[in-house]
């Protein structure tokens, strides 16, 4: 893309604006707790120990906190992603062997801008240039699973340890599921027309080169993503707040606790047809955990909701025969179940 003109003059102003934005962000984050507390308990006169007071306090603190974190993380991920494109990922993965290829693909899946609506042209582009099927799958599994919204919500509601666990195990599932699918040699279950497609020469559009471009791109990402998910954040936290305030302690222990062995596969099965973005589901799940659900079960449920969804299956059905869709769901689902049991056993 030809950038029409360079804008050297505006660059210093951009940095000034960034610094101001960062300062405002830090200030807002600092004052969240006293401010939300003052509103809930002084202004509204609610008792922090009451059901209503604890639910409202939770809601008023968490909504702005999560929206702030979400904006920051989407911005930072946007900057990182401005360095990557699907075309570059394809180039890096072309002719790669399995194993290393799976690891690289799953990692690139995280940092490359991806929208499941583009899954088909991406799949065609990869397969056409000789990226092995299993390696392609590693990319297609990790790209939606480890995304900035999930990261921001996990970090905000569970802390960095759980967020890091999610990223690490998500990568693990993407790498191993892709590797297994590759080992099974299922190329015959790719839709026939895929191998007949003649792809044009892939264009390496030079996108965002200057820092001005990268920052513009990241700001646009914040607008798009936060603009889209904020209602889910509010709805999710509202449900979470209600659970927090009204549901008795240990209510979930019997259903989603460690002792219920069947809870992990059940959570994964329930999660597949559910399609919510991470923004709506993570606050609810966090509240459930407070009421006795175990981390492994909760993690498995979130992964299943986020990584395995009906809309994605419908999109992939255009390039895959149903047998391969079934294998895909089976292998990834099993991987997620394994993650669930692992954490229930270890923690």
């Amino acid at each position: 893309m030809s950038k029409v003109e360079e804008q050297p003059a505006s660059a210093p102003w951009l940095w000034v604006k960034l610094v101001i934005a960062a300062a405002l962000w830090v200030a807002a984050y600092q004052y969240l707790e006293p401010l939300s507390g003052a509103v809930s308990y002084s202004l509204l006169g609610l008792d922090p120990a009451s059901h209503l007071g604890s639910a409202v306090g939770f809601f008023l603190y968490d909504v702005p906190k999560i929206l702030l974190l979400l904006s920051l993380i989407v911005f930072l991920v946007g900057i990182v992603r401005s360095f990557f494109t699907p075309e570059r990922a394809r180039k890096a993965l072309g002719g790669r062997r399995e194993g290393i290829g799976n690891v690289l693909a799953a990692t690139l899946g995280i940092v490359t801008p991806f929208c499941s609506c583009s899954a088909v042209p991406l799949f065609l582009g990869f397969v056409e240039s000789g990226v092995p099927l299993g390696v392609t799958f590693s990319f297609l599994i990790s790209a939606p699973m480890v995304n900035e919204v999930a990261l921001a919500l996990l970090f905000g509601m569970f802390g960095w340890r759980v967020a890091a666990l999610y990223v690490a195990t998500g990568l693990g599932v993407a790498i191993s599921a892709g590797w297994i699918i590759g080992r099974l040699h299922l190329e015959r279950w790719v839709a026939d027309w895929v191998y007949q497609v003649r792809m044009g020469e892939v264009q390496l559009l030079e996108g965002h080169q200057s820092w001005t471009d990268r920052i513009d791109y990241a700001v646009q990402a914040v607008r798009d993503i936060v603009g889209k998910v904020w209602p889910y954040v509010i709805a999710g936290i509202a449900v979470g707040a209600a659970i927090h305030g009204y549901v008795p302690e240990d209510f979930m222990a019997g259903i989603m606790g460690k002792s219920a062995w069947w809870s992990v596969p059940a959570a994964v099965l329930v999660g597949i047809p559910m399609y919510s973005n991470a923004a709506g589901i993570i606050p609810v799940v966090q509240a459930l955990m407070e009421k006795g659900a175990s981390l492994g079960t909760v993690l498995a449920f979130m992964m299943s909701v986020i990584a395995l969804s009906l809309p994605e299956v419908i999109i992939l059905r255009r390039v895959l025969k149903w047998q391969l869709i079934a294998v895909f769901l089976g292998v990834v689902g099993t991987g997620i179940i394994a993650v669930g049991y692992l954490f229930n056993a270890v923690l």
Binding site: P113, C115, C117, S118, V120, P121, L124, M199, L205
Partner: protein, 82 residues
């Protein structure tokens, strides 16, 4: 001039198509705007992310919605080329 919006019915593809129509009618440019939704035709242009924008056979953007100013400047360039 021939402008093609490449994309299979995603929300952003429809947005881009509307934006292009808007720019074309504002500029009063003699351009035909087409929507290409068949994947086989889309990948012929060598793009891996939708929506894509093609002006007179040349890929201008992929995987994002370009700004109004960008679209305008591309059209101006093609027009001035004659």
């Amino acid at each position: 001039m021939n402008i093609k919006v490449l994309g299979s019915g995603c929300a952003n593809c429809k947005k881009l198509e509307a934006l292009v129509e808007e720019v074309v009618s504002e500029m009063d440019a003699a351009a035909e705007v087409q929507h290409v939704s068949d994947y086989k035709d889309i990948v012929r242009y060598g793009i891996m992310a939708t929506p894509g924008l093609v002006i007179d056979g040349e890929v201008k953007s992929a995987g994002r919605i370009p700004s109004k100013a960008e679209i305008t400047s591309w059209i101006v360039t093609v027009l001035s080329r004659g």
